[in-house]
Amino acid sequence: MTDQTALFEYLLRLGDNTLVLGHRVSEWCGHAPVLEEDIALANTALDLIGQTQMWLGLAGEVEGSGRSADDLAMHRDVWDFRNLLLVEQPNGDFGQTLMRQCLFDAFHLELLTDLTRASDDRIAAIAAKALKEVTYHLDRSSETVIGLGDGTEESHRRMQAALDLLWPYVGEMFTPDAVDDAMLAAGIAPDLKALRARFDTRIDAILTEATLTKPDSTYAQSGGKTGFRHSEHLGHMLTQMQWLQRAYPGAAW
């Protein structure tokens, strides 16, 4: 793998994570439990889509084949997506959505913090902008996870169920592969082992305050960020997201 290929793959991972999660969160629009949550969810989705434009825009530039961020978002099929399995998981109830958000935010925040020091200035600049937004995302998702975990019996039960359901998708974030190794060697990406330690510290504190129990299992599902084996959910999302571009090729919108 050349450095350029690894960089392209890495940027797709960053951009596909925000694209797929932004899309999932946007599915809530108008259906949240309370007006403030409608606003906050739309705001989070908006930030993530904005970050997608930057990451995929840069990915297209690095690839050098003339593909724009929109081309990458709208004209790739499932096997070409490089997002984590976690972010493509369905919304479920509000608790599941916020648990997914909190687990991703805690990883995302640590990742972006390190990326602000990347040897590639373009990446450092995007990370610095995204970090401001993601700091707010984690504040909000962690507060909500704490509030609902330590709320009523029902809210506690639902949050524990969400955590148990999503925990097997946490490991993939921290399992390095050839792309991660190449980016680490190039001074761009952080060491995922060190990142995991910081993630654990954060998540343990949140879960303790939320009175939730971290699952014992260390089993990690994989196949999202490599594109080897996504879940069945991603294809359905793409049929919706890409429909207009696919149905009316060549039209400008």
């Binding site: 694209l19 108008g30 259906h31 439990p33 606003i39 929109d70 009523t152 060549g250």
Partner: protein, 325 residues
């Protein structure tokens, strides 16, 4: 979005107080929450502001319908920002209504069980991407027409909410028109979509101003109180006069064969919408009434455990803080 067909409440108070109140309004003073006000004024405003707030909330649904299918990342971001604004407008308006002594939860209950209405325009479906253009251009355009004068309404909190809302609504209308431009100048199929959207949204947009109110006693009272600033017919005329040249610029045809420029009045003559359809939709028989209300009820019911959970947590924290003091 805005409120339609709000009937003003009769009022039976001390004539001297009423006269003094009217004098303040006539002098252009703003009425503030702690000031004395006639019961009819208060009730009419609660109904009007509440209905307006509900319209913002239900109005998220027809546009939310296309967020997951937006054709580009930029369009998706703009639409998300717009729908987020609508939710924000709902929030300011509920806050304005709360200053009149009604809670947001009470208003929500009344929306969900059908005691209060929202603007009927949201009971029409959004079927193609061009509908996102038509909703911004026509529906937000009609709303702005109604809301700009309400910035000068007599009730202070309402007036201030309208000033903020109008700033954002004019951006919404521009983004709608920009979608229409792209479609109208696009492929033949896109142009067909744009025309189809105009065909479906033209008359419902004209209905947004409500039936002619020239004989309405309620309207007269609301206008005297400066809760309503213009007649429905005046606003509708203004809307048609503004919109027809915009349609021409797009190369689209307004679906009204009787539409003619009338030199004498300096405005267009145009066909009235089918008012029986308007009343049918208000009665609950519009194409999407059932879905819209069901979606809001489901969101509220499904979210009950979340609201209860967060309240319980807040109560625990308060108790812990008290115990520590």
């Amino acid at each position: 979005m805005y409120a339609q067909m709000v009937q003003s409440e009769a009022t039976a108070e001390d004539p001297e107080k009423l006269a003094a109140f009217q004098a303040r309004i006539d002098a252009g003073e703003k009425i503030e929450p702690k000031d004395w006000m006639p019961e009819g004024y208060r009730k009419t405003l609660i109904r009007q502001i509440g209905q307006h707030a509900h319209s913002e909330i239900v109005g998220q649904l027809p546009e939310g319908n296309w967020i997951t299918r937006a054709p580009t990342l930029e369009r998706k971001a703009i639409l998300l920002a717009k729908v987020q604004d609508e939710a924000g407008h709902g929030l300011y308006l509920y806050c304005a209504a709360e200053t009149l002594g009604v809670s947001r939860d009470e208003l929500t209950e009344m929306l969900l069980d059908g005691r209060m209405k929202y603007s009927s325009i949201f009971n029409y479906p959004t079927l193609t991407w061009a509908d996102m253009g038509a909703v911004g251009w026509l529906v937000d355009g009609a709303a702005i027409m109604n809301q700009v004068p309400l910035q000068r309404t007599s009730y202070g909190p309402y007036s201030r909410a309208m000033i903020r809302i109008c700033k954002e609504e004019s951006f919404h209308q521009r983004q709608g028109y920009s979608i229409m431009m792209k479609m109208a100048q696009g492929t033949p199929v896109q142009k067909k979509m744009a025309q189809d959207a105009l065909n479906r949204f033209w008359y419902p947009s004209l209905m947004m101003f409500g039936p002619s109110d020239k004989d309405s006693v309620h309207s007269a009272q609301s206008m005297k109180w400066k809760i309503k600033m213009n007649t429905n017919d005046d606003l509708r005329q203004k809307f048609v006069d503004q919109t027809v040249p915009q349609a021409e610029f797009l190369g689209l045809t307004v679906p009204d064969e009787t539409l003619r420029w009338n030199e004498d009045k300096g405005g267009y003559d145009f066909a009235e919408p089918d008012w029986s359809e308007f009343f049918d939709v208000i009665q609950g028989n519009g194409p999407c009434n059932t879905e819209r209300l069901a979606a809001r009820n489901k969101a509220w019911d499904d979210g009950a455990w979340v609201r209860e959970g967060l309240m319980a947590h807040a109560a625990k924290k308060r108790a812990a803080k008290l115990a520590a003091e």
